[in-house]
């Protein structure tokens, strides 16, 4: 199919803000997700790849060929828009066959292709309906079929599921994943939902304030967020910042809010230091002992298979996961307000900034 390279792609806006420079490679046949909060530049980046908005700098390569001056309709792209954007004055069939019609396909070939896609997406029964007569989930399938009709090399999906309810969204996520795998089509997917990104992607690129801050598989990002933004955005980390007091034999002693933490690492004495710990790596207990660190208990929320415990450590919120039902029961019955916490060994993630 196609390998897409964004080299220093920049977009400037009238108000002076800008997106980029974006450097990113989408490998042949993979599904890469652009993930970030709203305003981070995901959709702008996608629309630069589609060619709807011009970039002021950088290059966009499809299999090494620069596409910057190629019209959107000559880029061989399929796209599903956030608003679905099905043509309301046409039937489902006419929507799907629009691309082949524009490309001047023979009628037989078009019909065959539409039926093939209808089969793949399970929308055969909808083909003769008007757009106003299909439901939200069905409309997404039709939009996907329409985008795929002319066998594009690259598929762009701009928050296609954001308007659907959770259950439907999850079903369509796996559907999109299945079809993308089957067709091995290079795909760029935009979403602001971490769950969706992790569920669907081969790799995820995290954007913040117009820049790509980290690219990796969902596991890589979760286990090793590169900086505070990623750690906080993915919700995978409790972020602590403190001062390095001692750095001897690759053991760091960090002071955070008057408490000392010790773990392996290297840094300069006296420098600011940030690290993160995943909720499942925070150990809590109701023991009282002098060399333990304490935090205020804020709340305990039961969830599937575990309890989420919110703590307040001198103003720093900490989330801990525990599976210890007895402990939770004791905490609740005794009305304990202050509990001890510590980190599992080797669980500290050092953050760059």
């Amino acid at each position: 199919m196609v390998n897409v390279k964004l080299n220093g792609l920049i977009r400037e806006f009238d108000d002076g803000s800008r997106i980029g420079p974006i450097d990113l490679e989408v490998r042949d046949g993979e599904l890469l997700t652009l993930l970030g909060p709203s305003g981070s530049g995901k959709t702008t980046t996608l629309r630069m790849v589609a060619g709807f908005i011009e970039n002021v700098g950088g290059s966009l390569l499809f299999n090494g060929k620069n596409m910057v001056n190629v019209e959107p309709r000559n880029r061989n792209i399929g796209m599903v828009f956030q608003s679905v954007a099905l043509f309301p004055n046409m039937t489902v069939f006419e929507n799907i066959s629009f691309g082949p019609d524009m490309a001047g396909w023979k009628r037989d070939r078009t019909i065959e292709r539409v039926e093939e896609l209808a089969e793949l997406l399970d929308i055969r029964h909808l083909l003769l309906r008007k757009i106003s007569e299909v439901s939200g989930g069905e409309a997404q399938r039709v939009a996907l079929a329409r985008a795929l009709a002319t066998n594009p090399e690259l598929l762009l999906l701009d928050e296609p599921l954001s308007a659907l309810d959770l259950q439907l969204r999850e079903r369509l996520q796996s559907e999109i994943r299945r079809i993308q795998r089957k067709l091995k089509i290079t795909t760029i997917y935009v979403t602001h939902s971490q769950d969706e990104a992790f569920a669907i992607s081969d790799r995820v690129a995290i954007l913040d304030d117009g820049l790509v801050v980290q690219v990796g598989t969902p596991e890589e990002l979760y286990d090793a967020p590169a900086n505070e933004f990623v750690a906080r955005f993915l919700g995978s980390g409790n972020v602590f910042s403190g001062k390095v007091i001692d750095a001897n034999q690759q053991i760091l002693r960090i002071e955070v809010e008057g408490n000392l933490f010790e773990f392996p690492g290297e840094s300069e004495v006296g420098s600011e230091f940030k690290f993160s710990v995943k909720p499942e790596d925070v150990i809590i207990s109701d023991f009282k002992s002098q060399n333990l660190t304490y935090a205020e208990l804020v709340s305990i929320t039961p969830q599937v298979g575990s309890f989420k415990v919110n703590l307040d450590f001198n103003g720093i919120p900490i989330i801990a996961l525990t599976y210890d039902e007895d402990l939770v029961k004791r905490l609740r019955v005794n009305g304990v307000k202050t509990i001890a916490f510590s980190f599992k060994e080797d669980s500290i993630i050092i953050l760059r900034d």
Partner: protein
């Protein structure tokens, strides 16, 4: 049934009754002041005098009917042809002051037709601005150019009126087109022309049709413009109804009214249907616009040429009314006599007309606002029994012309009550009927913008019904009521057709006086009176803009 339960049921019933009393109010007015008079007219048309068939088969009437249709069709085609490029420009061109330009499109609509006649005479007429310019260029003293007369005058003035309508309606529809639809088509390989034909055109078609039907109806029922430029030779059905009434041929007047209502109500129904047929295309967060410097040189020249055309055709007649007020085309000199006349007392002077205008329009505005509130409430009622007559009352001026209403009021109310001797209350009623749809609509829009949660909040805080109305709803509605009042005032003070029909000379308003002045070629007097009305309309427009923050167009 327990005693407690019974009293509860009674309380509920009383509340329901009182609510229906408020809501039935507009229905009652509809029956008394519109349906009954119009029915009387039609009844009489069918039973007495010249019969319906005789009327329609008379050659003069057939010519009138033909002319009514022909001029309406020509005016509509012209308005659409001129309006469409502007609609695309407004929707797609990025420029500062866009919302002001859009808002100003409302001005011609509020401008009284008779004032437009004065503006047209001054812009396109003999010794007008264009004529004077040509005469100067040719070095001659005799008039060489006159479009403000006869059929060209009628059609041009109608075009002036309706170009802004086409512009507003079609550009609004274009702005509702989800830009992602066009992008979808683009990425699926459609060329700009294919995108226009397969995506844009199908989307805006209902709005083009709706604007056409509305334009056609306005031209079809046109009265002051036809009367002034047609000079008795060219008459619309509307003008002929007035003429027949003046000649005491009530049979013919009523028959023509019946014929006209049959056609306009059909068109109004088509219009209302069309209004619902636009496809919903999803959210339109980012309407795609292009700034002027992005266009090529050819496109830029086209845009500039188009703007000049619009300025000459639409802005020209309005701006030159100022000249009309001080330039006497017969004596070819500048004079203040027009204004002097306006403040001259007695039967020769215009002061009386000014007072009448303000008095009638003021009263009509008060009534239009007072009645507009229950009407607006009724329009929003859940029961169709209430909401349909209420909406009908607001839409009725679309289908029933002002001459018809005036004729009905005179025949059914003024004659039996003896008000024909001094029919000023009937004028106020007619002007109220003409202003009411605008006040009701403005208030209804304001009501629809109130978040129901706010009222529920007031409820939950223990406010009684009256408290809720006084302290929560009315303050929130105040801007809407004010806009409605101003709109109704502008419509009432500029009203000429019904007023001319009903008024005796002592009841003449400025608008009617302008027609009279024009007939006796007292051009500066007409010009000065027109300028006063323009100023009133512009002030009204500014007030509405200030209050409603640019959403005035919705009231149309």
């Amino acid at each position: 049934m327990s005693l407690e339960h019974r009293s509860e049921v009674i309380a509920l019933k009383t509340r329901a009754v009182s609510r229906y009393a408020v809501l039935a109010f507009p229905l009652l007015l509809l029956v008394l002041f519109i349906m009954y008079p119009v029915a009387t007219v039609i009844g009489q048309g069918l039973s007495t005098g010249t019969s319906f068939l005789d009327t329609l088969s008379s050659p003069t009437i057939q010519f009138t009917i033909q002319f009514t249709f022909t001029q309406a069709i020509l005016s509509t085609v012209l308005a659409v042809l001129i309006g469409l490029p502007g609609a695309f420009l407004i929707a797609r061109l990025q420029f500062s002051g866009k919302s002001l330009v859009k808002a100003m499109m409302i001005v011609p609509f509020v401008l009284p037709p008779i004032v437009v006649v004065v503006g047209f005479l001054q812009m396109f007429g003999s010794n007008g601005v264009i004529d004077s310019l040509l005469m100067w260029m040719l070095g001659t003293d005799t008039s060489v150019f006159n479009l403000a007369t006869g059929v060209p005058g009628i059609i041009l003035a109608h075009t002036f009126y309706n170009v802004p309508l086409v512009l507003l309606m079609v550009s609004a529809s274009l702005e509702r087109l989800n830009p992602e639809l066009e992008e979808s088509a683009e990425i699926l390989g459609a060329s700009p022309f294919q995108r226009f034909r397969r995506i844009i055109l199908p989307h805006v078609m209902p709005s083009i049709l709706a604007a056409s039907v509305l334009t056609f109806m306005f031209c079809f029922m046109s009265f002051p413009i036809v009367l002034a430029f047609g000079q008795g030779t060219y008459m619309t059905i509307e003008a002929q109804i007035w003429n027949a009434f003046r000649m005491f041929d009530y049979g013919q007047a009523s028959s023509l009214t019946l014929f006209q209502i049959a056609i306009t109500l059909t068109l109004a129904t088509v219009y209302v249907r069309l209004g619902r047929s636009e496809n919903e295309t999803g959210p339109t967060a980012s309407i795609r616009t292009t700034s002027f410097h992005r266009y090529g040189i050819r496109d830029r020249l086209l845009i500039i040429g188009y703007l000049i055309l619009i300025i000459v055709l639409v802005l020209g007649p309005i701006a030159t009314i100022a000249r009309a007020a001080v330039f006497d085309p017969i004596a070819k000199r500048y004079t203040m006599e027009g204004f002097v006349n306006l403040f001259t007392l007695g039967s020769q002077g215009g002061f009386n007309y000014l007072v009448n205008s303000l008095f009638y329009a003021g009263l009509a505005t008060i009534f239009a606002v007072i009645l507009g509130i229950p009407l607006a409430i009724s329009m929003r009622a859940r029961s169709k029994l209430v909401s349909i007559p209420a909406s009908a009352m607001v839409l009725l001026p679309l289908g029933v012309s002002s001459i018809t209403v005036a004729y009905g009021l005179v025949l059914a109310i003024a004659v039996p009550t003896g008000l024909v001797i001094n029919p000023w209350p009937i004028i106020v009623v007619a002007q109220t009927i003409i202003g009411l749809p605008f006040s009701a609509r403005a208030i209804e829009i304001a009501m629809s913008k109130i978040d129901p949660a706010i009222l529920e909040q007031a409820d939950s805080l223990g406010a009684s019904r009256i408290q809720k109305l006084l302290f929560v709803e009315l303050p929130l509605l105040a801007p809407g009521i004010l806009v409605g009042g101003v709109f109704a005032f502008a419509m009432a003070i500029g009203e000429m057709s019904a007023t001319l029909f009903i008024a005796l000379p002592q009841n003449y308003t400025l608008a009617v006086a302008i027609y009279d002045y024009l007939a006796v070629r007292a051009f500066v007097e007409a010009g000065a009176a027109a300028l006063i009305l323009v100023i009133v309309c512009v002030i009204a427009f500014l007030v509405m803009e200030r209050i409603s923050e640019g959403s005035t167009g919705g009231t149309l």
